[in-house]
Structure formats: structure tokens, C-alpha cells
Amino acid sequence: MTYFNQVFAIAGKDLRSELRTKEALNASLSFAVVILLLFSFVVDPDSEMLEQMSGGLLWMVFAFSGVLILNRGFARELPNDCLDALIASPIPGSALFFGKAIANFALIAIIEAICFPVFGILYNLTWTAQLPVLVAVSALATWAMATLGTMFGALTVNMQLRELMLPMLIYPMLIPALMSAMQLTTLLVAGQAIDSEHIVWLRVLIAFDIIFTSLAAVLVETVLVG
């Protein structure tokens, strides 16, 4: 029981200090909305072609604005050597990892919760036909981003080029998850259910989450302890 208590102690701490300062949240939120706006110059907003691109556009927005939050993940621990205080506390490395991943997940979810309606309004798409499935798929993809973001945040925490290294490492590896999310979101935003042809992408997402979450939970301890 104490494990969950410790995980949510860390997630709560991260969320509280992020929601209090909102520095990363505001930056990535405005970044996301700006890209959504810019996109209307790329494709003529009420064309049928936009329907094809909705998933791709949305997940590109989430991926790029999400990294601004992921960068803050471990940067928050650097002043006053708080990371040492956390590693020295009796919590297992995986608890620290899950705590931070959940905090990142929640923050990126906030961005998504705002971007989907904005997207719907700007491009007058009724995207809520398959809402429950859409939320599930977004959650899976966001968790993939949070897992890799937190893990590589831990890998690069002591580096000077941290802000540059994290995107460099995370994007190539995230492509399979992003591809799946894009395929499924395009389908769901258009209101169609996930048919037999696209079910494979759900499996890719689920397998991606399971494998990388377990890998990260096992290896994060070796990364954090010097």
C-alpha cells in the first residue's frame, strides 16, 4: 500500500508545483494552439482532405508541445539537489519513475483536453462520436509519451544539453506509438469505429506501452543511482 502512497506523493508534488507556477503548461498550451491555427493555412479548413489529416495534425501538436512538459520533468529536481533527496529516500526507483510519469501524463492530458475542443471548433468537426474509444486511445498514446519522456528525462538529467538531447532521443523511438495514435485518431475523429483493419494499431499501442513501461520500471534504478 505504501508503494502507491509513495507514487502519488511524488505525482502530487510534481503536479502541485507545476500547476502553481504553470510555466511549462502555459508554454506548451500556447504552442499547441498556435500550431492548430497555423494549420488552417496549410489545408483549406472545410475540405474533405482535412478529415484525413486530423489525427496526424493533432498528434504532431501533442508530441511537440508535450516535450516542453517532459523537459521540465526532471529539471524541476535540480535546484537544491532535490533529486538526491528523492533517490536517498526509501522509495524504489520504479516508484519515482511512475510518480513522475503519472505527473507528466496528467499535464499532457490537460493539453489534449483543451486542444480537442479547440480543434473541433476551429475546423467545425464533430469529434465526439466515438468519445470513449478516442479517450482510451489518447490515454495509451499519452502514456507512451510520458513513459519514454520520463525515462529519457532521467537519462539526460545531468547533461548540459538536456533540452536538446531529450527530443533527439524520444522522437525516433516514439514513432511507432505516434503512427498508431494518428491512424486511430483520424478514424475516431471521423466518427468511425475501429474496424478489423485498424485493430492492429491498437495492439501496437498496447504492446508499446507494456514493453517500454516494464523496461523503464526495471532500468530506471540503474540510471538514477550513480
Binding site: 511507432p176 503512427m179 492492429v200 501496437v204 517500454f212 523496461l215 540503474t222 540510471v223
Partner: protein, 229 residues
Amino acid sequence: MRDKLIYGAGIFAALYFVRNLYVILLQLPDEAMQGAVYRIFFFHLPPYFTAVACFLGAAIASGLYLKTKNWKYDVFAVSATEVGLALAAINLVTGMIWGRQQWGIWWTWDARLTSALITWLIYLGYLMLREGIKDPSERAKNSAVLSIFAFFAVYFTYKANEWYRTQHPGPVLTIRTGKNTIDPAMQAMLFHNLGAFLLLAVVLVAVRMNLENSQRAVESLRRRAHAIA
């Protein structure tokens, strides 16, 4: 003694390549549809398999380093990854040239070609990470973890891209998938060239390991020199 072995193997690999080239250029018949250009294939597929072998070796060595903290695994991991990157570059470039000839476009969004490029970027990130961390123990530990992650990511990349391509069939370099029955002589040459590339990879990895060891020696010498001077 080790260096002599490396030179010997290097010369043998070179001779093996010359012999293969001779057979490819002069003895093998033309492929019905593509004419002469299919011969690139012998320098496109073998380096791909060798690169994957290098990356797998690097991932295994990284796992062993994490368990035993023995330096030679870290040295092997970085050498294998670097050689793998070089071979993957060959695979990429020859694939592009072949695609250019087949369909007149430089970048055919073929599933394998795209996955090869993503794989290349992933392992480029590995080398960047190593450059960014100064303390040798920290560098070895973190890059070992990244190498294991990278190998799983590459597996996912190839799987996802294949499915993506089956739904949006772009130009597929048919001979590469070997669907049609391949001429036995070509088949044999494929394995010969694979053998040559594997031998070359071993030689390059060995050379790169010597380099890494002497780099490490220089760093410690420099530290001691500063301490004294």
C-alpha cells in the same frame, strides 16, 4: 599478436570482397526485369543484416555491462553500434539509389527504407548521448540502458512500418522481399557477400575497440599528467 590477427582478417575480407565483386559483375546473369542495376542488391541487403547483428550485439553487451560492470562490454557496445551505423548508412544509400532507378524518385517511402532511416536516427541519438556525458562510468551505464531501449524501439519500428505499408501500399522494392523465386547463383552470392560483410564488421569493430581503449588510456594519462605537472 591481436593486431596481426586484425590485419590478416582485414586483408582476407578485402580479398573476399574482390572475389565476390568479380563473380557479381562478370559471372552472374542479368536479372530479367531490372538489367544490371539489381547487383546493388548484394551491397544493400547484406549490410542491413550485418548492421542488425551489430546492434543486437551492442544490446547484449550493454545488458552484460549492466550486470557485470566490466569495461570491455561497454567498449564493445560503442564499437558495434558505430560500425552498425556505418553499415546501416550503406544500406540506406544503396536503397535510395536503387529506388531512384526503379521509380525515378529519391525517397521511396518503402517500409524497410523508412524503418532503416528511423533506426539510423535512434542509434545516432545513442552516440550523441555518449558525447554528452563526461564521467566514463556514468556514460557507460546510461548508454547501456539506452542501447537496450533502442533495440526494442527498432523492433517496434519495423513492425509498425510493415503494417503501415500493407495498408498504404507505396512502391515496394520487390526483389528485396524475395517473393519471386530467386536464382540459386544469386542466392549463393547473397550469402557470400553477407559473409564478407560480417568479416568486415568484425575487423572494423576490433579496430574501433582498440581506438576506444587507447582513447580511455589517453584520458587517464592526461588526468595523471595534469595532476603531476
